[in-house]
């Protein structure tokens, strides 16, 4: 696909914003050109039309995230539709370059759908471990394969496979296919100065405007959460990953937040 080599023709403009408060993050309100954005919306619509499932189902938007009030679906490595732009080497390198961090090529990319009235998330920093089974790829991109290796557990299926432990390094949300947003609709991503801030009292909010993007480096201080919504909210969500030694070198030992079971 053309965009694997050059993102320039797809981007609406290159005047994104790097903000510092309450922690460094990048936003853009006009990511893709209208024609390409329309293709993304169409592709997303195809997925939504399949329907939502209450039981865990990797092939559909389903309740797949324990303790999180949303439907999610991860793109498999073989996905080749327009939304695969987010799984490209070009996009990976662009995102990691925004924060000048070295990432390994491991990608977890999917979509989230929040029904109206979805519960608040919780304040967290996304600095979590992640597990992949590496496989050869021409561009060095390793897309998560949940059926082979548990992303949060590292449990592998099948003989001869070894789980590699990495850590989330860059997080990104891209909003699409949402109703026109107005103040009071909710569904914002809250950004917080402290781990124990009330989820309904963020320092800053980022609204789910269509064709907009929020990205940040996962650090001990990248506190964020989903905030409840009155209207449906759809997003592409993805993480890039890095070697855990990078975190230790930068922030010291014991800063990676191990996964805990959450009950909704």
């Amino acid at each position: 696909m053309a965009w694997r080599d050059d993102l320039g023709p797809l981007l609406a403009d290159r005047a994104w914003l790097m903000r510092q408060f309450p922690f460094p993050h990048v936003v853009s309100r006009r990511v893709f050109r209208p024609d390409f954005y329309a293709r993304l919306v169409h592709a997303f619509g195809d997925i939504l039309r399949v329907g939502l499932e209450e039981a865990r189902n990797r092939r559909r938007l389903s309740r797949s995230m324990n303790g999180y009030d949303a439907y999610g679906m991860t793109f498999p490595p073989a996905y080749d539709g327009p939304l695969s732009v987010f799984m490209s080497r070009a996009w990976h390198d662009m995102l990691s370059g925004l924060f000048d961090v070295t990432c390994t090529g491991h990608i977890n990319c999917g979509i989230h759908h929040h029904r109206p009235g979805s519960a608040n998330g919780w304040v967290h920093n996304d600095l979590n471990p992640a597990f992949f089974v590496d496989y050869p790829s021409a561009d060095g991109i390793n897309v998560v394969r949940h059926e082979v290796c548990g992303y949060t557990t590292g449990r592998v299926t099948g003989a001869g496979r070894v789980a590699r432990r990495v850590v989330r390094r860059v997080a990104m949300l891209f909003f699409l296919s949402n109703p026109a947003w107005a103040d009071g609709d909710g569904g914002c991503t809250g950004l917080y100065a402290h781990k124990d801030d009330r989820v309904d009292r963020p320092a800053v909010t980022v609204p789910p405007l269509n064709n907009s993007l929020l990205a940040f480096e996962c650090t001990p201080y990248s506190f964020h959460s989903f905030i409840t919504n009155r209207r449906p909210r759809n997003s592409v969500i993805m993480w890039l990953h890095a070697d855990p030694s990078d975190i230790t070198a930068r922030w010291g030992p014991d800063r990676i937040v191990e996964w805990r079971a959450r009950v909704r």
Partner: protein, 252 residues
């Protein structure tokens, strides 16, 4: 005290509600013409500021200096201490205030009989849409304008309160009963405040657009603010902007 001759550079604008649709448009369109103190609640203004620098995703290391960055101020304007702080910060940063734009607003639409929220939020709507504009204007007047009448007239200093046609007309849709009452109050407030500020040499007007961008382009509303600022004599007027054009109105 600065003399009329010492006023140089861009005009200084204190703009509340800077992260809203209108605020974003105004900051983008006019940041080269105004030094803007952009007040926001929780959404950072979507323009370059001291908190936000431009970054090219395909060349992130490129230089990003921008001499027209707005000065972003986060504040809860329902807290009176924050109103004082906003004015102090603006004066400390720019040394003066030439234009105060009260664009921060809160609305809650619905049936007063069918829901609790409309009545429960009425106080907040009046506070943010009417009382805060009054408090801010009075604070700026006391802290800066009051003893500078000649300078104010020379500099064309003024207040623009962003109202709505909902405050001028009674639409059939009753779900905006509280919101429209606040905008009607803001219109009257603007006309009366114009008389109180007349000895100070400061004009006060209201801008009353119809729904933007659905009926009136947002950019046109932003230009309406600029137009009122550039007016040398209009005071105590309501500039109504609708799909048929615009007209000055005064509820005499």
């Amino acid at each position: 005290m600065a003399s009329a001759r010492s006023i140089v550079g861009k005009r200084v604008c204190l703009f509340t509600g800077a992260s809203g649709t209108l605020g974003t448009a105004f900051c983008r369109m006019f940041r080269t013409r105004y030094d803007i103190a952009a007040v926001f609640a929780t959404r950072l203004p979507a323009v370059v500021s001291q908190l936000s620098r431009p970054i090219d995703p395909l060349n992130p290391a490129a230089s990003t200096a921008d001499s027209d960055a707005v000065f972003a101020i986060q504040a809860d304007l329902l807290d009176e201490r924050e109103i004082r702080r906003v004015v102090e910060l603006t004066l400390a940063r720019f040394g003066r205030i030439d234009l105060l734009v009260n664009a921060a607003a809160y609305s809650c639409w619905g049936s007063a009989l069918e829901t609790n929220e409309v009545v429960a939020s009425a106080g907040r709507q009046f506070d943010l849409n009417v009382v805060v504009p009054l408090k801010l204007a009075v604070c700026v007047a006391r802290d800066f304008w009051r003893d500078r009448s000649e300078e104010n007239r020379f500099a064309g200093r003024n207040v623009v309160n962003v109202s709505s046609t909902a405050g001028a007309y009674v639409y059939a849709d009753s779900t905006q009963l509280v919101y429209s009452a606040t905008k009607a109050a803001l219109n009257h407030l603007s006309c009366h405040l114009a008389e109180e500020f007349r000895p100070l040499g400061v004009r006060v007007n209201a801008l009353a657009p119809n729904t933007f961008p659905a009926i009136v382009p947002t950019e046109a509303v932003a230009r309406g603010i600029h137009q009122l600022d550039r007016q040398t004599t209009a005071t105590g007027q309501i500039l109504v902007m609708d799909n048929g054009g615009q007209v000055f109105f005064r509820p005499d």
